[in-house]
Amino acid sequence: MNVEITDLTRRFGRNLAVAGVSLETGPGVFGLLGPNGAGKTTLLRMMATVIPPSTGRLRLLGRDPGSYGPRREVRRRLGYLPQNLGYYPGFTVAEFVEYFALLKEMPSARVPAAVATAVERVDLGGRARAKLRTLSGGMLRRVGIAQAIVNEPELLLLDEPTAGLDPEQRVHFRALLRDLGQRATVVVSTHLVEDVGAACSQVALMDQGTIVFHGTPDELTARGTEQGTGDAPLERGYTAVLAAARS
């Protein structure tokens, strides 16, 4: 298992953002669905070793990220795209991706090729020398994805990766996700259930800090009814599970 989570909690003051989540997953694309404030981003930040859990056990790539050495090893194998991507406007696309390749301590000799590959994979090869300040929001999102995958991560954490992407790019991105999922564990947090249906082999639905559903997209679809809320079958399954969890 690349991700092993047991009774994980995270508290911010009095607010319990993640309230005892247990989860295990290996390679493949794992979708994390849920309404705003469900705790998806907090869970992802803990998995990205950005914040430590308040309680519970977290093992990533067979290591305990609570200790410095293993955490550094995990981070070398990790790709992370946060919900709000900050960037340095004066950097070019290639420089920004290279910067993160170096921060991930990739072997120096491999960096140029890895940067070029990552930029090509997000379809920004023609804009590699463009300053980030000149890019659109969707392009910046793709730069964020490029920096996340530049080190060919074994664990890739993507928080709302398709926000701002146009339909063509979203289709392209889903194909990329499926490709990445062949070798790595990809955890995608999203509001967009169609992304989950198209790219994920597994899905978990979070609400109020806990996981209220875990299974395949087909199983989630099956929870919905024709009379339920939502335009697509997966959406109806999503709303039905949420309604059941809150009832």
Binding site: A48, R75, L85
Partner: protein, 512 residues
Amino acid sequence: MTAARAAGAQEHSAPAALRPEAARRGAGAAALGSGRLLRLELRRNAMLWLLPVVFALFWYNGYREIMALPPMWNLRAMTLQNRLLFDLAIPVTAAAAWMGSREGRRGITDLVTGTARPRWSRQLAAWAATTAWAEAGCLACVAVVYLVTARQASWGGPLWWPAVVSVAGVPMLTAIGFAAGAWFPGRFVTPMVTVVVFFGLAFGTQAASGDHSYWQVSPLTAGAFDIGAAPGVASFYPYLPDLSIAQVMFTAGLVIAVLGALGIPGARMRWLAAVITAAGLAAAGTAVALAGTGRLDPHGMIVIPALHDSAGHQPVRYTPACSRTPVPVCVHPAYATFLPAVTAAVAPELTEFAGLPGAPARISQVAAVYRQEPGNGISVSGGGTSPAEFALPDEVPGRLGTTGAEFAAQLDEGLGLQLASDMILGGGDGTQSAAGPSQAQLAVIAGSVRFPPSVQSRDLAPMYGRLLPQPGSPADRAARRFAALSPAARHAWLAGHLAALRSGRLSLAQLP
């Protein structure tokens, strides 16, 4: 609580722990990665864009003032130390604070926190790039001043210690700015820390009091307060590096302490960072304490006993620059540009006294003697003990706004009068009366000296009764009569009466 299993993904689950440790690399590979990161930071560094501002500020504030000084290495190098860091303070501190606050301002903290490279290492790369550009700017300014001075100076070579202090002060500015930006990321920290550093430096230069002031540790202080860069300092004796060493120690200690403190939030490195911070603070504190033990030596430099090398008291060897006059006037070669003015100032008196008993065959410049007075005052006295020796004033043209005319007036007022008084009163040969000069002696001195029109009576007032007669007194009227004689007549009279005049046996009535 929900337990979930991703059973569908089992076919791909090669345990990560069993994969080759591709990231385990040697120190060489790590250094290569750090080098690449530094190159990237160098390419996209705010300091690079502020270099034109650095050069413009230095040209406007420092370079023009330095170049207005006579081409003497000591004057220019010490003034450079006093000006350069001050001119660099605003752009360098601002750029460093901007770079330090970058992650917080750009909301990139989460993204970089999830990477393997420690925060400290990441910050040091950005700081090092900022410092490298700032140092490049600093060194360029030093190089321009030194190259121009090398072409103009009549003697000597570069003084490196003032430049070393300036160069060592740059990382201090960047470290303070960077740390402030990193600790308090925000748009306002840049102007705030810049203002604080600027006024801190300015205050540091003004707060010194006496030769044992702790504030001398400020890297802008290029010598004893109240004389600072003076031509008489480090001309006849080597430049003493005592204060410079303390200043470099202080700035290096501050840099180490601030950079160490940046690493304290990193959990694993906390103890190491704390030790580094403590070591830096200890070094800076020691430097401050050492500066407090300073004392002004007679040659105008600060001696710090614990850092002092007594070999620094050996005079510098030089070949003087001499005039081609009947009585040669010789100056230290660093003062060669002033030789015509000096010769012109003493020529009338030399001509008048040439060949008389006790008249010098040549007169030579000697080092001025500096003495610390209470508070910030420093007295400067001529080191000469006979008519053959003289000291030049520190107020040379270009220094502290002194003009060429003012310098010439000082020479006339000082050297001519000194030569005449030494001749008439006997100088250091022991014949001078303990009761003070007689009225006849004062009259002959005043009648022998040719003061230019620029010398005001108020400038001469302190000499009344000591070297010159009171205006309107019988001695003053006798002096005017003596001055009205031709030089040949004065010379002839002195040849016959100098011994009696020196011994005080002549009265005013016996003067011509």
